[in-house]
Symmetry: C2
Subunit: 277 residues, 2 copies
């Protein structure tokens, strides 16, 4: 029995993404233990539920420890079936649905796969449209689409603009364009505002990054190039920050941030409302 390892199951009648989110958020607080996670999405029949139970019990048998089950199972019968397994069962609906029903004074729908389903086509279309927009207005292409942008991210090459724009579109339905600050923009033109950006100054938001980290990222792309040299990275980053200061563009140092954090921070600081949930 090795108590530093634990089997973790994510079980759901739908994608299991919510169950995984729930579980990983909690497990991140226990980093002395190694997890071996298995995901069981689309468990929407009693038969499939019985198979999950068998696997839970087999795992409990083999390891001598009850697996931890994070689940989002809306059907009570399926949920009760999975609960019979020798695991520690943490289910979102089991925990909170009754509280909400009581509080809202209405019964819940008990319908499988409501979340992450295309029940709301218009919000689905917005997300896809926002992703396509991000692709179209990526890397300084599609500048004539800037009037549709909710926000235009500025930064040196590899500061994280593209993934952030895509995430803003995918998660929040925000139309995010990006414009790369090139050496020419920063030095050749002595920090003048690029003409294409002039009409959109209120939409600009900067990303910056520590030169050390930038060098590492660029080196993976073009090892031993001038582009990836520390002096070049430092020079560009300094010039970009000076540019942001000069034009009073709000900016964020993203060195230690994940895409989720960058996107949330931007949304929060610019008071942009999300278009979709």
């Amino acid at each position: 029995m090795d108590i530093t390892r634990r089997s973790v199951f994510f079980v759901s009648d739908s994608t299991a993404i919510t169950a995984e989110t729930l579980g990983h958020c909690l497990l991140a607080q226990f980093d002395h233990i190694r997890y071996e996670p298995i995901t069981f999405p689309f468990i929407d029949t009693l038969e499939k539920a019985e198979k999950v139970v068998q696997q839970i019990n087999r795992e409990a048998e083999t390891t001598g420890l009850a697996p931890i089950i994070f689940s989002t199972l809306i059907d009570k019968e399926i949920r009760d079936t999975v609960k019979k397994g020798r695991g520690v069962f943490l289910d979102l609906f089991d925990t909170y649905l009754e509280i909400l029903e009581r509080e809202l004074s209405v019964p819940s729908l008990h319908m499988v796969g409501r979340y992450h389903s295309v029940s709301d086509v218009s919000s689905y279309d917005v997300r896809i449209d926002a992703i396509n927009y991000a692709l179209q207005a990526d890397d300084g292409t599609g500048t004539k689409e800037y009037d549709r942008a909710d926000i235009i991210l500025l930064g040196v090459s590899r500061a994280g603009k593209t993934p952030t724009c895509l995430y803003l579109g995918m998660q929040f339905g925000i139309y995010a364009a990006n414009y790369p600050l090139t050496e020419e923009d920063l030095l050749g033109k002595r920090g003048e505002m690029p003409v294409v950006l002039l009409p959109f100054r209120h939409k600009l938001y900067g990303l910056t990054i520590n030169p050390e980290r930038l060098q590492k990222i660029r080196s993976q792309r073009r090892p031993n190039s001038r582009y990836a040299s520390f002096s070049q990275c430092r020079m560009e980053v300094e010039a970009a920050e000076a540019f942001f200061d000069k034009w009073a563009i709000p900016y964020l140092n993203v060195t230690t941030m994940s895409v989720e954090e960058i996107a949330s921070k931007i949304l929060h600081e610019t008071n942009l409302g999300r278009r979709v949930w």
Copy 2:
């Protein structure tokens, strides 16, 4: 007092994305009630917590109904502060952390922002790299990168390939390329396998979509074009499905599916393991 409306707060010391996911998953079961959600991310001081409490109480006062608070607050003092508000308080850590501590026989870290932080740089790099890969190998460009692909999605134009590839990279760290089946591929070459795909047959996965929906999507892009006509859509979809059948390529009808569902289904059916959490 209007009981068909309810204020909902998402509160977190970090991005609040987990709290939002949690809340929306539960609220999707109550569609007779309209929500007015406000997100409070980065609530990481007692001062900010007190402000949230004020807003909770103001909302309770104005509407005559206790707002519902979905939260992920790891700091107990901050959590207890927010709990003082006149809301219905559902906190992930409050609910589950003790159960897990007991079960795992260790105290938790109680560290803010562990999830969605770049604590694990290598997994962060994998995600960014997978997103960049998806961009590079999008729409039949970058076919010489197919040896790096975990999966290559096939489908007619606007069947949902690109958003799916991006989501597979962003959420799961999967390297997903896509190849658009053109009219020439489908009809001109009478359904022969395109030469660039031949060495990668084991990586192919098809997306299909109902012609009615495809027509709607294409019409938004190019209204009244041949490309968006129903007959063209039907013809392409039929030929694509015949192509998948001919070459025994597994495929999915994505008409009523969200990006999350498509990506999860593909992962599940191909037994591809996710690279990141």
